[in-house]
Subunit: 649 residues, 2 copies
C-alpha cells in the first residue's frame, strides 16, 4: 500500500529546490510551485536557530527533552476518559512534573533565576494541558505567593513543602462576584487579638471563592486573599495561608467546598468553590513580608498607603501571565507543525473540473494565507517573551511597572494570537483537526481559557493603555506624522517590507492613538462626564490603544531579535516573517487608511504583497516550526506523520 | 441572602425607561445609562415579532416546544460522561427525536414541504448537539439520498424504514484522501452482469470512507458513493445502499469498520471508517432515479454527460447546509441570551480606583461592542434563511443553481458568524463561559465542525464566487462607482445608517470585486498560467468576492425582512440592527477606503457610530433574543438566571 511520502513521490514531476534563500529573501522563484510537488526540506540550520532562540540552560533543556521523550506517562492523553479518571491521571502527571521540577529547578528560581524556570517551562511537551495548569496553580501561584509575600520564616517553612508536595496548594483570589476587580473582593479576615487569630468569613454568596483550580478535590492548603480588618481599620487585601482540608481530606472546620463542575475542557483541573464561616487561623497565617500584625496586635507595613501594598500582593500574577505567553508559543508551534505537515502531504482540489489534478493543500494561496501569518505571529511573540524574561532577570534595574505592562501586553496579544492560530489550523485540517489524536482541536479547547484567565485580555489591554497614557503625560510622545507625499508614492516591495516603514507606521499609529484617546477623554470630561464614565464609554478606543502599543512593542522586539541573529540564512527567512507580521497588522486595521497614513496605492500593494510573502515562506515553514523545538511527530499527531500508513487496516 | 435581581434593585438609583423607541430608533437617550442600573425590560411585543420571524407551522411549533419543555430526556446534557456513556445517551435521545419527527413531519416533507422540516428543526432546544447530528445523518443525509436519488420502489421500500428506525443509516461520501473533491473519490462499484451484482471495492487506503457519522457503532446501512463502472465505461459517482452490519451487529462480508476515535467535541456521534473488499450488493442497490443498470446489464440515465448526474447525486447536501445555517441562528441565540442576561446581572469594574462603584458588565462600551454586533448578524442570517426556504419551497420556478449558491453562501457566512459569536460570548462570560452548565463553551466546541463539514467554508465561498463570475459573464454587472464628492462629505448618522447608503456600498464592493478578480485571472492566464493555476493563485481574492456577494445578499434579505415587519416598534429596533450589520462590514473591510468608496471622514464617523448603535440596542437586546424563541432560562444555563441564588450552599 502507498504511504503519504511515496504517494507524493509518485506524482512528482519536478521538485523545487528550496535551499537557496537570497539575502533579502525576496527573489526566490516559487512561481513554479503549483506545477510540481513541494517537499518538506530543511532550508536552513534549524539546530543553530534553535540555539539562538533558546540560548540559556541548554544542558538542562537537553536533559529535560530526553525525559519528556522517554516517559510515556508525561505525554499520556486524557481524552475519552470520564471526569473522575481524567482528574486522577492529571494528578499523577502533575506529581511527576513536580518531581521533574525538583530535579531541575528550585522554586526560588522564580525570583532568582526566572530564565531557568522559563527554560523548564519551554520544555513541556504536553498533551494534557491540565498537568501544567495544576503545576502552575501549586507552584507558580500558591508557591510564588509564599515566595513573594511570605516572611523568611514562612518561606523556609512552606517552600520545601511546596517542592516536595508535603502539601498541595491552591490560590483563592477570584470570587463569584469579583474577578478582575480584585480590590473589591468581599472575603474578610478580622483580627481577634484575644486569641491571636484571624477570623475568616465569606459574608455573602458572591464572596465565595470561585473557579479555584485544585480546590474541588486535590488541594489541602490555599492562599486566600481577603480584606484585612484590624480593630476598626481596613488594611486592604492581604494573603493568608489556610488549611482547607484535614489529613483525611475532609474540609476543615468552617470551610465549605463545592465543585464548579464540568468545563468545556481542562477537566483535569478540579476547579472548586470555597466559603468560609468563622474560620479561625493563627496570626502567623498572614503572609507578612509587606505587612503583618505583631504580637501586640498592631498592624504595620513598610508600604503605605494600602493601595500600594495591593500591587505587591498580586505581583505573583505577573509570572503567571508570562507563562501563558510562553504556552501560547508552544501550542501554536504544535498546531502549526501538525497543520503544515498535513498540508504538505494531503492533496485537495478546489473546483469542479474533474480532470484537474489534485494539488497539495499547501500550494493553495488560501491555505498559505490561513496558516503562514500565524507562524510570523508566533515568532514575534517568542521574541517579546525573550525581552520580558531578560527584563525580569535584570534585578538591579527592575522596573515593576514596565514588567507588569509588558506581561499584560504579551499575555493578551499571545493568547488571542494563539486562539486564532489554533482556530485556523483546526479549520485547515478539516475533520482531522477535530480529532483529538491530532491535538489541534483539544489544544484549542484546553487553551480557550487563556484569553480570560490570569487577567481578561480586554482589561489587560486597558491597563496597558492607561500606563501608556500616563507615560505620555510624563514624557510627551512625538506628534503623529503621516508619510510624506513622496513616501506615499512608494509602493515597491523593498520599501513596504522594510523595517523602517513598518516601525514608523506602528509608532505613528501609537502616537495618533494616544492623542486621540486623550482628546476624547478630555472632551467627555469637559462635557460633564465623570472620569470613570468617560473612561468606560471610551473603552473601545482605549482597547485599540492598548493593542497598538502591544503590537508595536512586539514588532520592536521581533526586529531586534532578527537583526542580531548570527545565521544569515535563518535571518533572511525571519526577515520575511517580520514583514509579514507588520504588513498583516496594516492590512487588518483600517486605521492606516482612515488617518491617511498610507496611500490607497500602498494599501493595494500590501494587499497583493501578503499572499506573496506567505508563498515565499512556505518552503521554510516546517523548518521554522522545527527551530521552535517541536520536531514534527514528537507528540504523535497522526496527520503530522504518515497518516496514510497509520490508517491502514 | 441576596439574589441577583434583588442585588440589582438594591443599588438602583434611577431606572432607565427603555420602552420608548422613536420611529428611527435614533433619539433615545441612553447617555445616562452609566449613572443608573439597566433592567431587562420587554421593549416591544416579542411574541408578535416571533410570529413574524417564524410565520409558518405555528401550531406544530407550539406543540413541539411543549414537548421539548416537558421531556427532560431530550435536553439531558452529556458532559462529564465517558465516551461510551455519551454515545449511548445520544442514541437514546436521537431515537426520541426521530419519533418526534414521525409524530409531526414526514420525510417526504424535505421535498414537498421543506418549510415544515425547517419549523421542526427550529424547535430544537438541545444541550447535546450530537442528538441532532445523528438525526441529520440518518434522516437528512441517508434518508434524503433515498428520497432524491431513489426510484419509486426504493423510496417506498426504504423511507418508511428510515422513519421507523427499522434500519439506521449513515452517509459514506468523504474518503480519507478526498473531502471536498467528491468527484475524485476512489471507491469503485463495478457491475458484474453474470450475477447481477455490483462489486464494491476500496482500492487504496486513501479510498476508505472516513469520518462517517454513525458508522463506528450505530448504523447498519449506509449510502455509499462510488465510481460506477459498467463494462469498461466509468459512469461517474453514484450512490448505493449497502448493508454494513448484519443483524447481530457484525460487519457484513467484505466490510471493515474502524472507529475514528475521540474528538474535541460531538462525541455522541460515532464517526467511523469503512473499507470495502469485494463487497457484493444486488443490482437494485444502486439508487436509480438518475441512472441505473437494467436487467440486460445496460446502463442508462436521463441525464448526460456524467458530470451533470453528479450534481444530482450530491444535491441532498444542499438541505444539510441550510440546516447548519438554521442551527447557527439557534446556537447564537442561546449564547447571546445567556451572555446578555449575565451581562445585565454581573457587575464588574475596569480600572484600579477602589472607590469607584462597580457597574453592570453590559454598561461597558467594550462589552457592548463585543456582543451586540452578533445579535445583528444573527438576525441577518435568519432573514437569509427565510429567503432560502421560500426559494426551496417554490417548486415551480425552482432554480437549482441559485439554491445551491444561496445555501453555500448562508452556510459559510452563518457558521463563521456563529463561531465568532460563541467565542465572544464565551470570553464575555469569563470562566463562567467555560463551565459546561452555561452551555456557551460546549456549544462552541460542538459546533466547531460547522465551518468545515457539509462543505468547507473557503471552498463554498469560492463556489459562490465562481457562480457570480459566470453570471456576470452572462449578464454584466454595473460598473463600480464610488460615491460622489458630495456624498463623501455626508458623515451624518442619518445618511450613513440609511439602507440606501449601505446597499449601494455593498453592491459596489461586489461590482468592483467581480471586475478585479476577472482582471487578475485574465492577466494571469495571459501570462501563461493555466486556468487552474490562475484560479488557485488568486484564491484569496476569489474568497473575498464570495464573501462580498454573500454579505450583500444577506443585507438585501435582512432589509427586506425588516421593511415588511408590521410592528413598527420592533421594526425600528431591527432597523438599528440592519445599520449595525452593514456598518460593521464597512468598518472591518478596508476595501471601502482602499478603493476610495468612502471618505476618511466617513470612516471616522462610522468608527464612532458603531459603539453608539450598540449602546442603543442594549436595552432591546434581551427582547430581541427572546423574539428569536429562546426565552431566557429555558435551557437552564446557570448564569442566565439567578446565578447567585443557584450558587448558594
Amino acid at each position: 500500500m502507498e504511504s503519504a511520502k511515496r504517494r507524493i513521490n509518485h506524482i512528482t514531476q519536478n521538485l523545487i529546490g528550496v535551499n537557496d534563500v537570497s539575502s533579502d529573501g525576496s527573489n526566490q522563484d516559487t512561481s513554479s510551485q503549483s506545477s510540481g510537488v513541494l517537499e518538506i526540506t530543511k532550508t536552513f540550520d534549524t539546530d543553530s536557530l534553535n540555539r539562538y532562540l533558546f540560548p540559556y540552560n541548554r544542558d538542562m533543556r537537553k536533559k529535560l527533552l530526553e525525559v519528556w521523550r522517554s516517559e510515556p506517562l508525561l505525554t499520556q492523553p486524557t481524552f475519552g476518559l470520564s471526569l473522575k479518571e481524567e482528574r486522577e491521571l492529571s494528578v499523577i502527571q502533575f506529581k511527576r512534573l513536580l518531581s521533574l521540577a525538583k530535579e531541575n529547578i528550585s522554586i526560588w528560581d522564580i525570583m532568582n533565576d526566572p530564565k531557568k524556570v522559563a527554560a523548564f517551562t519551554q520544555c513541556y511537551r504536553l498533551k494534557n494541558i491540565a498537568t501544567s495548569t495544576l503545576f502552575g496553580v501549586h507552584y507558580s501561584l500558591f508557591g510564588s505567593s509564599i515566595l513573594f509575600l511570605g516572611s523568611d520564616e514562612q518561606r523556609n517553612y512552606y517552600l520545601p513543602k511546596v517542592e516536595n508536595l508535603d502539601l498541595m496548594g491552591c490560590f483563592a483570589l477570584t470570587e463569584l462576584g469579583h474577578g478582575s476587580n480584585v480590590q473589591a473582593i468581599e472575603t474578610i479576615a478580622e483580627y481577634d487579638h484575644s486569641k491571636e487569630e484571624f477570623v475568616l468569613n465569606s459574608p455573602t454568596i458572591t464572596s465565595q471563592k470561585y473557579f479555584i483550580g485544585g480546590a474541588a478535590k486535590n488541594a489541602n492548603f490555599s492562599v486566600v486573599f481577603a480584606q484585612l480588618k484590624v480593630g476598626e481599620k481596613m488594611e486592604g487585601v492581604h494573603a493568608f495561608i489556610v488549611k482547607i482540608r484535614d489529613d483525611s481530606g475532609r474540609p476543615t472546620t468552617g470551610v465549605k467546598i463545592g465543585d464548579c463542575g464540568h468545563k468545556m475542557a481542562l477537566n483535569g483541573v478540579d476547579n472548586g468553590r470555597l466559603m468560609f464561616n468563622n474560620v479561625r487561623i493563627p496570626r502567623e497565617s498572614l503572609l507578612s513580608r509587606y505587612g503583618g500584625v505583631n504580637k501586640a496586635g498592631i498592624y504595620s507595613s513598610p508600604i503605605n498607603p494600602a493601595i500600594k501594598r495591593f500591587a505587591h500582593n498580586i505581583g505573583a500574577l505577573v509570572f503567571g501571565r508570562y507563562i501563558v505567553s510562553l504556552g501560547s508559543v508552544s501550542f501554536s508551534s504544535v498546531a502549526l507543525g501538525v497543520s503544515l505537515r498535513y498540508a504538505f502531504s494531503r492533496k485537495q482540489f478546489f473546483g469542479d473540473d474533474s480532470n484537474a489534478q489534485e494539488k497539495q493543500l499547501i500550494t493553495y494561496a488560501t491555505h498559505q494565507k490561513r496558516l503562514i501569518p500565524h507562524l510570523a505571529n508566533t515568532y514575534a511573540v517568542h521574541f517579546g517573551n525573550e525581552y520580558f524574561i531578560h527584563l525580569l532577570a535584570e534585578k538591579d534595574k527592575k522596573n515593576d511597572k514596565e514588567i507588569h505592562i509588558v506581561a499584560s501586553a504579551l499575555k493578551s496579544y499571545a493568547s488571542w494570537a494563539t486562539r486564532d492560530c489554533l482556530q485556523d489550523a483546526r479549520e485547515c485540517c478539516g475533520g482531522q483537526g477535530f480529532l483529538s489524536e491530532n491535538l489541534i482541536g483539544i489544544f484549542k479547547s484546553e487553551t480557550e481559557i487563556y484569553t480570560t484567565f490570569e487577567g481578561d485580555n480586554v482589561l489587560l489591554y486597558q491597563q496597558v493603555a492607561k500606563f501608556i497614557l500616563s507615560e505620555a503625560r510624563r514624557k510627551p510622545v512625538p506628534e503623529f506624522t503621516v508619510q510624506s507625499d513622496s513616501q506615499k508614492k512608494q509602493c515597491d516591495r523593498k520599501y513596504l517590507t522594510s523595517f523602517e516603514f513598518l516601525t514608523t507606521a506602528m509608532n505613528n499609529r501609537l502616537y495618533q492613538n494616544i492623542a486621540y484617546v486623550t482628546d476624547k477623554l478630555t472632551e467627555a470630561i469637559g462635557n460633564g462626564k465623570s472620569v470613570m464614565d468617560a473612561w468606560n464609554d471610551s473603552g473601545n478606543i482605549i482597547l485599540r490603544l492598548g493593542i497598538a502599543y502591544s503590537e508595536k512593542f512586539i514588532l520592536d522586539k521581533f526586529i531586534n531579535g532578527v537583526v542580531n541573529c548570527p545565521d544569515s540564512t535563518a535571518q533572511s527567512v525571519m526577515t520575511l516573517l517580520v514583514s509579514l507580521y507588520g504588513l498583516n497588522i496594516i492590512e487588518k486595521d483600517n486605521w492606516f487608511l482612515r488617518y491617511n497614513y498610507i496611500s490607497t496605492d500602498q494599501s493595494e500593494a500590501i494587499y497583493q504583497l501578503i499572499p506573496e510573502l506567505c508563498k515565499e515562506i512556505v518552503p521554510h515553514s516546517v523548518s521554522l516550526v522545527d527551530a521552535l523545538g517541536f520536531d514534527g511527530n514528537e507528540l504523535g499527531a497522526t496527520i503530522s506523520g504518515d497518516w496514510i500508513e497509520k490508517n491502514k487496516y
